[in-house]
């Protein structure tokens, strides 16, 4: 839909659309995705920026490699999982040092966005 308003004395217009609960809006050369419930820009990923030891799938895709099993120790930044999506490999790394407490996936699994994959307990 087209949005036309008078703002601070000027007429401005934008193109907007609500898709699956996200508001998409294009104005002055920029497209934004807004989640109306929170007023935040859509984050597009299931985990926040804080280090938690929870490794979740940042996108839908397939698990192609698991470097750790329950009980293994990991360093911060160490590769734990390799995922494939859109024909590219992505390496998921531990965000804290610790011990692998649980592994919720296996090589070959198709996983969804935000799915829990590995839990690291801080050491």
């Amino acid at each position: 839909m087209d949005i036309k308003i008078r703002h601070e004395g000027r007429d401005i217009s934008a193109v907007a659309e609500m898709i699956n609960g996200t508001l998409w809006i294009h104005y002055a050369g920029r497209t934004r995705a807004i989640e109306p419930q929170t007023g935040r820009r859509a984050r597009g990923r299931a985990h926040g920026a804080e280090a938690s030891g929870e490794l979740r799938a940042p996108m839908p895709g397939k698990i192609t490699k698991l470097f750790k099993k329950t009980g293994d120790t990991v360093e911060r930044g160490e590769a734990v999982i390799v995922m494939e999506a859109m024909k590219m490999e992505y390496t998921l790394k531990a965000d804290i040092p610790g011990v692998v407490e649980a592994v919720h996936c296996a090589v070959g699994d198709q996983v969804g966005l935000g799915q829990d994959l590995v839990k690291v307990k801080p050491s």
Partner: protein, 498 residues
């Protein structure tokens, strides 16, 4: 000029997305009926809606559909096609596929299986180039593919070393090894990607040139046996070895270099008895050029060459496949003006290019003089995680490089894609970067200048007002008459804080 040998009246397209549409349109102009060979989810695509006939050749997984030789050949035959165009990626550089088509009586729109084996296999190609005295990057392209041996060879070449899929392209199955300790893991990862993307785990190693430009030449061989080049493209702007922005012609070549590289490119084509469209890729560093590889197919970035040369490479491919002569050697080949292509990827630029999937809403490509759009998906189509994230390409042409850059920036600003995040903000930043504007960028441009994801700026006062208004309109539309809005203001929190 025309010398029809075997007029094609129905052609099968063994591909998807924007390139399938590109081939469909060339066929429409030539009066050729089209058959789209597609996977199950790709009924939601522009090519599916445009094709005259459609045959589902398998499920979403590429190994069972777009990479399945038998399914493609059977589909093309069932639909009564005489010819098959493989597009790029998937089976386009697979000699076995070219052979299977020929054996089934289908004209493969591309070079012969023998040419693909000679030039398309990077290892063979290098041996040929070496014999012809063409400059090569130091590397290892032996048959011993054990990880231990590959690591040993990498050590001998000296880091940084790049590991690449022998059958590959497009950055898949390609990894940069900077240090000895990462070698084993990166080689294994490249082998897995190569196997998944191209059906062969074979890799080779190459010394990594750290301030090189990527320059390539478009070559073309027609049915008369002549091979010519249609000048150069520069594709130095790459991320994870995947091209993002390409242009024709390169701002970096002197006339002398252009002549010598063009001659080398044609020489390779002649050795390989090349027929159809192909690309000879070079790295250029400190005035020296090195042969990188030959892509025995149409290239993603072929439109920039079409724009500066005034040709239609896809039509030329099809005409060549049916035996017509397309090269007029009495006419000089000159390039005119400057063309730039931007690849539009479904990914989140604020999260370092993480793939973005979803249902496409409103999509708008702002047409105008010297603007061209190649796209495979429209409003209502779903972008899934099964395939490559490239959803469209924007191409511009103008008299000078500076004006072409200016035109591309405005074109991207006016492009609308709702439903998935795209790299458009990232492309605009790159196009505005002084190094790009000067034309001095190397293949490390992104790594050097854009090491971090972009920052999503806070909404401006205008944007906030528009978002408010949009939410009100949506609430008014969904709520029954008289009822109050049930959707809270997106900035309610901020207002309380003020």
């Amino acid at each position: 000029m025309e010398r029809p040998v075997k007029k094609i009246t129905r052609l099968a397209i063994a591909n998807r997305g924007e390139v399938a549409v590109r081939i469909l349109r060339a066929c429409e102009e030539l009066g050729i009926e089209t058959v789209l060979l597609h996977s199950e989810p790709d009924t939601q695509s522009r090519a599916w809606r445009m094709a005259d006939k459609r045959i589902c050749i398998g499920p979403a997984a590429t190994a069972e559909s777009y990479l399945n030789i038998e399914a493609n050949v059977r589909g093309a035959l069932a639909a009564g096609a005489q010819a098959l165009h493989p597009g790029f990626g998937f089976l386009s550089e697979n000699a076995d596929f070219a052979e299977a088509c020929a054996a089934a009586g289908l004209i493969f729109v591309g070079p012969s299986a023998a040419s693909i084996r000679q030039l398309g296999d990077k290892v063979h190609c290098k041996a040929l180039a070496k014999a012809a005295g063409l400059p090569l990057v130091p590397g290892y392209e032996g048959e011993d593919q054990s990880v231990a041996h590959l690591v040993k060879e990498a050590e001998a070449i000296g880091y940084p070393v790049i590991v690449k899929a022998a059958a590959g392209g497009g950055g898949r199955g390609m990894k940069l090894i900077r240090e000895s300790k990462d070698a084993r893991e990166l080689i294994e990862s490249a082998q897995r990607e190569a196997l998944s993307a191209f059906g062969s785990a074979k890799v080779f190693l190459e010394k990594y040139l750290d301030r090189a430009k990527h320059i390539e030449f478009q070559i073309f061989g027609d049915a008369s046996g002549q091979v010519v080049h249609y000048f150069d493209r520069e594709c130095s702007v790459q991320r994870r070895h995947q091209k993002i922005i390409e242009e024709a012609t390169s701002p970096s070549l002197t006339e002398d270099l252009r002549r010598r590289m063009g001659e080398a490119a044609v020489a390779i084509g002649v050795i390989g008895k090349y027929r159809g469209a192909g690309t000879v890729e070079f790295l250029l560093q400190d005035g020296q050029f090195y042969l990188l590889e030959v892509n025995t197919r149409l290239q993603v970035e072929h439109p920039v060459t079409e724009m500066v040369m005034g040709i239609d490479l896809v039509k030329a491919q099809i005409l060549t496949a049916q035996g017509d002569y397309v090269i007029d050697s009495t006419k000089p080949r000159v390039s005119h003006g400057h063309s730039i292509e931007c690849r539009i990827y479904a990914e989140n630029p604020y999260l370092g290019g993480l793939p973005s999937t979803g249902l496409l809403g409103r999509v708008e490509w702002p047409e105008g003089p010297g603007r061209r759009f190649e796209y495979g998906f429209e409003s209502g189509d779903e972008i899934t995680s099964h395939y490559d994230p490239m959803i469209a390409k924007a191409i511009v042409w103008d008299e000078t490089r500076g004006r072409a850059i200016q035109k591309m920036i405005r074109t991207l600003q006016d492009s609308i894609v709702f439903g998935v995040q795209t790299n458009i903000p990232y492309l605009i930043e790159i196009l505005s970067h002084p190094e790009f504007v000067q034309g001095t960028m190397t293949t490390r441009f992104i790594e050097k200048n854009f090491p971090n994801p972009l920052t999503n700026p806070e909404p401006t006062s205008d944007e906030k007002a528009l978002i408010e208004a949009a939410m009100k309109q949506i609430a008014a539309r969904s709520a029954p008459a008289g009822a109050g809005s049930s959707i809270p203001s997106p900035f309610a929190g901020e207002w309380r804080a003020v």
